[in-house]
């Protein structure tokens, strides 16, 4: 296998924002244990700004690192800004991922999307 970048290894070994939020405003739960990746992303939103984000991930090094990076990237962003955080953005922030691991960054994007969608639907309700 190709090597992980130093950034990936940093986020993998010292993942930021692990855990859960009490009374989150949005929760994204994506992936499937069948495929070896499950990601849960929770966000706290104040005045349309993501003020906190936490994750829990079952998955490989890349899955954990992308989760960690995604939380770092969203905290402080508005919901609109957060929606622009694509898999590419996450992967680039980690100085790239080995080709066979690119799907892991999709998972982070999907988790974020799901959490925002959940937040929006709660707003409407």
């Amino acid at each position: 296998m190709e090597q992980y970048s130093e950034k990936v290894m940093d986020h993998f070994s010292n993942p930021r924002n692990v855990g859960t939020i009490e009374n989150p405003d949005g929760v994204g739960h994506v992936g499937n244990p069948m495929c070896g990746d499950v990601m849960e992303l929770q966000i706290k939103v104040r005045d349309n700004i993501i003020v906190d984000a936490k994750f829990r991930t079952f998955g490989c090094g890349a899955a954990i690192a992308t989760s960690s990076m995604a939380t770092e990237l969203v905290i402080g962003k508005s919901i609109d800004e957060a929606q622009n955080i694509t898999n590419k953005v996450v992967a680039e922030a980690l100085d790239g991922l080995p080709p066979v691991k690119m799907h892991c960054s999709n998972l982070a994007e999907e988790a974020l999307e799901a959490a925002i969608k959940d937040y929006k639907s709660r707003q409407k309700a």
Partner: protein, 386 residues
């Protein structure tokens, strides 16, 4: 930090005595073994010497040994070689669900090319179901191929009995002994096999060289056509240093095998006991007793194998996993699924494979470190909430 290498089933360091034996055959004794001048006598003799060593180690005649480039070539050669040579007799092959990819994907390839393959299931310990194997036999069955011991979970198969069944029905029988040769007794006659694959780097020989035992009288089509080498069964200028290294590795392995197997079995059992005790929601994969002396395979609930490996690596500990992590497919090990593990547990498996330099101290260190890693990852996992 001294590294702790526990991935001997993947590959072993070449024994320095093996390297020493190889060295003269690079730049000094370099003659092409097929040439007639006296310069080539040394290389020719060296090859035949290695052949004799290997043959006597497995109870064969030197003429029954063909040197190859490794276990994968031996497996491909055996299976495609028999399938092609006997295609007028039939097109049905029987194998197990837990073969190494070198066997499995060769069978899949043959399936796409006019052959019919039955994949016999195994029980929860990974032992092939003998009754189902025998039931699978048809009049057009030309080959049975079942590995001697599994590379992931270490389960040793009842090869001798399978061989008897094959013999009774007049079917050729191949076994992939890549994981067993040099570690537990491997004798072609005791095992009732017609073909048997080995690979040098799995028993402290060099990478890139292996052998296929082919019982006298077995019709086989070569995998590599060309020169007259290896009695016309494998064309190519012989890898003389590699073959010499293989011979030396066989010599060293057979000397110490019995003692080493005992030693590793004890270490293995103590390690398994300690881990299962210290780490909740963990389970041993493979057969509790009929397993390779050096194989330990454990699944940890709620977490994924690659992340365990990467954490171990930070402590200098090298192991492997049945997770799909490093492959381009998302499927975890077919072996772990075949013994009934869920996808999640299959993804959460780690294999530790011991070697002749593995010490109790090293394993104790892993027993100290591993629980913390598992706990840390489980704390991060949405699938583990205990």
């Amino acid at each position: 930090m001294k590294s702790i290498y526990l991935d001997h089933a993947a590959t072993c360091p070449t024994d320095p005595k093996v390297v020493e034996a190889m060295l003269p055959y690079f730049s000094d004794h370099y003659g092409n073994p097929s040439s007639i001048y006296s310069l080539s006598r040394t290389t020719r003799n060296a090859i035949e010497n290695a052949r004799t060593i290997l043959a006597s180690a497995i109870g064969a005649d030197p003429k029954e040994i063909v040197f190859t480039s490794g276990g994968s070539e031996s497996d491909n050669f055996a299976i495609k070689g028999i399938a092609h040579a006997l295609k007028d007799k039939g097109n049905h092959i029987i194998t197990s669900q837990i073969e190494h990819h070198a066997v499995l994907y060769t069978c899949k390839f043959l399936e796409k090319n006019g052959y019919d393959v039955t994949y016999v299931p195994v029980d929860e310990h990974g032992t092939i179901k003998l009754d189902e194997l025998e039931k699978a036999i048809r009049p057009d069955t030309i080959l049975i191929t079942v590995m001697h011991a599994n590379n992931e979970i270490g389960t040793i198969q009842p090869i001798r009995q399978i061989g008897e069944i094959a013999k009774k029905h007049g079917i050729k029988f191949h076994t992939d002994a890549v994981q067993t040769f040099g570690h537990i007794p491997v004798n072609a006659n005791d095992l009732n096999v017609d073909l048997l694959s080995i690979s040098a780097h799995k028993f402290y020989g060099p990478k890139g060289v292996g052998a296929l035992y082919i019982r006298k009288g077995t019709k086989i089509t070569p995998q590599s056509h060309g020169g007259d080498q290896e009695r016309r069964r494998r064309a190519s200028t012989e890898n003389v240093p590699g073959i010499v290294g293989l011979g030396k590795a066989v010599e060293i392995a057979t000397e110490s095998m019995a003692d080493e197997a005992d030693r590793q079995t004890k270490l293995r059992n103590d390690f398994i006991k300690a881990i299962l005790e210290k780490i909740p929601d963990s389970r041993l994969n493979g057969h509790p007793v009929d397993r390779l002396p050096n194989n330990i395979n454990i699944s940890f609930e709620g977490i994924e194998g690659e992340s365990i490996l990467l954490n171990l690596d930070m402590y200098g500990i090298a192991a492997s996993t049945g997770s799909a992590c490093s492959s381009s497919s998302l499927e975890p090990s077919h072996v772990l699924l075949s013994i009934g593990l869920t996808h999640e547990l299959a993804h959460g498996s780690v294999r530790f494979s011991l070697g002749k330099h593995t010490t109790r101290e090293e394993l104790d260190r892993v027993v100290d470190i591993l629980p913390g890693i598992i706990q840390k990852l489980r704390a991060m996992s949405p699938l583990y909430n205990k």
